[in-house]
């Protein structure tokens, strides 16, 4: 064990305080890089470090907060890291105070925002942090402190880089806002799950606020974290006093508040912005030689999304199964076409229905899972804050998806086969996760509960070997159809119960397998689900579209005392009445809606649900083509003309387009089911050009283009010219639409236009976006300038 970890074992570790404010007091100007002062003003930096050691710090953080290759050349970076260490080491030697002194390699945020909210790719962030850690590998730092991180994904990138490039202990500290969340939305519980899952050595909180204001967040860490908790608050809030910044918490109050949190169980304490050696001295005195407060944190099964943690021990968890192409023609077609919008709407819909986590599976022979699955995971995380259950049989795809996942995922799955254990368990160890473990092995699925339990025991032992605890395993004792074997359900249920009771572990089931081959399967599924819940089931992969399954779940919670006053059940029942009187089916607005019936009308008025319902009803009377030609297109035309004449405004135009989309979706589903080709027009490739991350306008164009029947391939935002050309060539698209918001990205647009004209002369390029004008468009050689989305549609139509 490293020196600092063994010191921490039965002592409180005292960190240092602020650096930036002290450097400014010694003459550093705003905008200067403090890290350069290691080289230009080593004596100042040494003085500050020594003052902290003298005040009582056991650890000082190197003056390397912003030292990364996004700001410095590798050569300069290496010099900074070495000088920073030397300054701290000299200070340690010069300090008058006895006792062990450690030096932490300090790593702050990259200074850039990760995608999708900024332009830094996840792997580029990992690479940048990795460079810092690699360059510091030959410098004898005692530990790495990753601090002030306000984005969960960037925190993950930094921790991953530290783990991949160094064997030093890693402490990770996040900066929470006044709302108790990270800027990107993560709660303390979500960060505890993510970071402890990935194997940080200590985790905690710094910056933003004073110790009192941070107390609620610190309490959450103390309640949930199995790891030592770190706290490095600001000296309260800054305010201007004349030409100085002063902080509103003075050393005495700071020390008393922080020491109180140490008494509650914080093990590593120091100060951040505004704190000085006086604060640390006061804190050292307030803590004295107090022994650490021991905490008991019961290990729990917890997964997380990019914002929230989900504890499987609080109540059984429903995992939506709909993002899995097996047996789903519409989804299969969408995945193959790269139609992300459909997949995303499936994610959002399952969440609305009550799914608490979502299974994500892209297992199709036509797809390269290793590429598609991580992209799918990233895209789905932009539309839902539910934790994901990453479902693949390919270990490489699993690794790629777990790597980019923002949170601690459910890993679906490992089994008792040696090969599977060896491939999957190291991934769970590295990226964190709760892994679903199927009770089958090389010999197949045992017929008896005893046999399945035996495999579970073996998996448990193998996991232990990797340091994966029982709380991170979710055994799946495999539901098999009772249609083939009358004992199937009984054996599975017995296994659920014995794994819960004898192994003290959690279980999960793919419930609907039990009824395979039977009619009206929901009856059987719901009954089986209730039986499994009562035997201790922790999670089910199920269809959230099934009211019977949801009903079984809600009723179970109420019956099991987990829904006080049956409040949730009552709310569920109100939304899902068993049998509503026919006349009342439409609710109070029924009369009005009857008068407004008609698909065209629904589209014109921008009523989404109504448009879908009307399309469904009318499909039984009219062929799809006619429906589109007679109802949808004329309605869209009327709205479009209204917009062109300035009578209809953009929000209404979009509402109509969305209503038409909803109707199209219904028609498309019917056509796929009937293996009919939906009527289509030309291929259109759309992209926001390289360097530009704005896509609201482009999304509007896509929506309208799709409405008018064009087959749109949307390449997204920040798309390199070559990638646009590739798509145009591959799809032989006669039309390509490019969007740019900024003057700075017009050159990228110009390059794209040129490339297409050179190598795909059959393709006409439409350009648009905030900065574009007819003049600009002519200058860069575009074929058409569209001032708004409707103009783009009209031009594309004119080409046919």
């Amino acid at each position: 064990m490293s020196d600092v970890l063994s010191y921490l074992k039965n002592r409180i570790l005292l960190l240092d305080g602020g650096m930036g404010t002290l450097l400014q007091a010694r003459g550093m100007r705003p905008g200067e890089y403090p890290e350069r002062w290691n080289l230009t003003h080593p004596d100042v930096v040494k003085d500050i470090h020594r003052a902290y050691f003298d005040a009582g710090s056991n650890v000082v953080c190197s003056n390397t907060f912003g030292a990364n290759p996004l700001k410095f050349s590798e050569e300069e970076l290496e010099g900074i890291l070495r000088a920073a260490y030397d300054n701290a080491r000299t200070a340690a030697e010069q300090s008058s105070r006895p006792g062990p002194k450690f030096i932490a390699l300090d790593i702050g945020p990259s200074g850039r925002m990760l995608k999708p909210y900024g332009d830094l790719a996840f792997e580029d962030a990992v690479r940048a942090f990795g460079t810092v850690v690699r360059l510091a590998r030959d410098i004898p730092f005692d530990l790495i402190l990753i601090e002030t991180m306000n984005d969960s994904l960037e925190t993950k990138a930094a921790l991953l880089a530290a783990k991949e490039n160094s064997a030093l202990p890693v402490f990770v500290s996040n900066a929470y806002g006044v709302d108790g969340k990270l800027m990107t939305g993560a709660s303390p519980a979500a960060m505890v799950a993510l970071l402890s899952g990935m194997g940080a050595d200590a985790i905690g909180v710094n910056c933003s606020l004073g110790p009192k204001a941070l107390e609620p967040v610190v309490r959450e860490y103390l309640r949930l974290s199995p790891l030592p908790v770190l706290l490095k608050p600001n000296a309260g809030l800054p305010r201007a006093e004349g030409d100085r910044t002063v902080y509103d918490v003075l050393p005495g109050e700071f020390a008393a508040d922080t020491a109180r949190l140490v008494q509650m169980g914080v093990r590593i304490a120091g100060g951040c912005c505004g704190t000085t050696p006086d604060y640390i001295r006061a804190l050292a005195e307030a803590i004295g030689d107090r022994a650490p407060t021991e905490r008991e944190v019961e290990p729990k099964a917890v997964v997380s999304s990019y914002t929230n943690a989900l504890c499987l021990d609080d109540r059984p968890v429903l995992i939506g199964e709909r993002i899995n192409p097996t047996g789903k023609k519409r989804l299969k077609a969408a995945l193959i076409e790269g139609d992300m919008a459909f997949v995303l709407s499936e994610a959002a819909r399952q969440q609305e229905k009550g799914a608490m986590a979502l299974d994500v599976n892209a297992g199709l022979p036509e797809l390269n899972e290793k590429e598609v699955l991580p992209r799918l995971v990233q895209e789905i995380q932009t539309v839902t804050d539910l934790p994901l259950c990453i479902d693949t049989a390919a270990p490489e795809a699993m690794a790629a998806a777990l790597r980019v996942y923002n949170g601690k995922a459910i890993v679906n799955s490992v089994n008792g086969k040696e090969e599977s254990l060896r491939a999957i368990l190291p991934l769970v160890k590295k990226y964190g996760g709760v892994v679903i473990a199927l009770t089958l092995d090389e010999t197949g699925i045992p017929d008896t509960a005893e046999g399945r339990l035996g495999i579970a025991r073996r998996i448990l032992k193998a996991a232990e070997g990797y340091g994966i605890g029982c709380q991170d395993i979710l055994f799946d004792p495999l539901a098999m159809t009772i249609g083939a074997s009358p004992d199937a359900a009984r054996v599975t249920l017995e296994t659920v119960e014995r794994i819960t009771r004898e192994l003290g572990c959690r279980t999960s089931l793919g419930v609907s397998n039990v009824s395979f081959g039977l009619p009206e399967r929901d009856y059987v599924n719901a009954a089986f689900f209730t039986m499994a819940l009562s035997r201790g089931l922790s999670a089910a992969i199920m269809n959230p579209d099934s009211p019977r399954m949801l009903g079984a779940y809600r009723a179970y919670l109420a019956l099991n005392g987990q829904d006080p006053q049956c409040g949730e059940y009552v709310a569920f029942a109100a939304r899902n009445p068993l049998a509503a009187p026919a006349s009342n089916a439409e609710g109070p607005g029924a009369k009005e809606t009857a008068e407004q019936a008609g698909l065209a009308r629904a589209v014109e008025k921008g009523m989404r649900a109504q448009a879908a319902a009307e399309a469904k009803r009318m499909l039984s009377e009219e062929p799809p083509m006619q429906l589109i030609q007679r109802e949808i297109i004329p309605a869209l035309d009327r709205v479009g003309q209204g917009y062109e004449q300035g009578k209809v405004f953009l929000p209404q135009l979009l509402m109509s387009a969305e209503a038409a989309s909803a109707a199209f979706e219904v028609i498309k589903a019917a056509a796929v089911a009937a293996r009919e080709e939906t009527p289509v027009r030309a291929r259109v490739v759309l992209a926001t050009v390289r360097g530009d991350i704005h896509d609201i306008g482009k999304n509007i164009v896509r929506l309208l283009m799709e409405n008018y029947g064009f087959q749109v391939t949307d390449l997204g935002k920040d798309v390199p010219p070559e990638q646009v050309l590739d798509a145009v060539l591959r799809l032989k698209a006669p039309v390509c639409g490019l969007s740019a918001l900024m003057t700075t990205t017009v050159p990228a647009m110009e390059e794209t236009v040129r490339l297409i004209h050179e190598q795909a002369p059959f393709c006409r390029v439409i350009v648009g976006g905030a900065v574009l004008t007819q003049e600009y468009a002519d200058q860069i050689g575009a074929d058409f300038y569209a001032a708004d989305a409707m103009e783009g549609v009209r031009y594309a139509e004119s080409l046919e």
């Binding site: 201007a240 919008a341 932009t382 991350i693 900024m742």
Partner: protein
């Protein structure tokens, strides 16, 4: 001279419905149900932060020395006519609008449009509140603020962002970072240069629509 960079969180200013609708390409000043819905989604996800520094400004031949940078921009020189100081300002309403726009951009573009429009109105209203507060303070010194001017206006290049962001240390202070394209994340962030002028100076100052050279704008008042 040591420079003080201040940071402050503000309470939400009242929503200017007319402006929000205008940014969405709509008209009127009564909230539509769709706007109301977007506002209810967005409001809890916003936080209002400003950081600023009060700096001297000097003219050196054809160049304006703004303390944090120098620029030959003629338009900025006009805007800062008679000013000896300026407030270098950065404001943001946080990442909430980015997160919600990403969520709804694919599923419900109309909602994403309205969220974006409200976000723009929010950060502009935040700067209005900030300017009113500063004006109140400056009045005691016989000073007042000019209209705000941002990189990208007129001939003031966007490149100036690369000097403003590190100078104000916005990544650490208010969570605003610069992308390679020189745009900021969170997207609903604004940097501005606001001149400080003697109250007595009577200058033919054009602000708002009068100060704009684009005469064919449909939103011209």
């Amino acid at each position: 001279m040591s420079v003080c960079i201040c940071t402050k969180e503000y309470a939400p200013p009242p929503l200017n419905v007319k402006e929000a609708l205008r940014y969405a390409g709509g008209r009127g000043d009564t909230p539509t149900p769709e706007l109301q819905e977007a506002w209810e989604l967005l409001a809890p996800a916003l936080r209002y932060s400003v950081c600023w520094a009060r700096l001297p400004v000097q003219r050196k031949e054809d160049v304006l020395d703004l303390t944090f940078a120098q620029t030959p921009s003629r338009d900025l020189q006009r805007a800062l006519l008679g000013c000896e100081e300026l407030l270098l300002t950065a404001a943001t309403v946080g990442l909430g609008p980015d997160r919600l726009a990403a969520r709804y951009g694919r599923l419900a573009p109309a909602k994403a449009l309205l969220i974006g429009a409200i976000g723009t109105e929010r950060v502009e209203s935040l700067l209005d509140v900030f300017a009113r507060e500063q004006n109140g303070r400056l009045q005691q010194e016989g000073l007042r603020l000019t209209p705000r001017f941002s990189p990208g206006y007129g001939d003031l290049p966007l490149q100036l962002q690369a000097a403003i962001i590190p100078y104000l240390d916005t990544p650490k202070r208010i969570g605003v970072v610069l992308n390679e394209s020189l745009l900021m994340s969170p997207a609903k962030s604004v940097t501005a240069i606001i001149g400080i002028r003697r109250t007595g100076d009577i200058l033919k100052e054009k602000s708002g629509c009068d100060g704009c050279r684009r005469k064919d704008c449909e939103f011209r008042r």
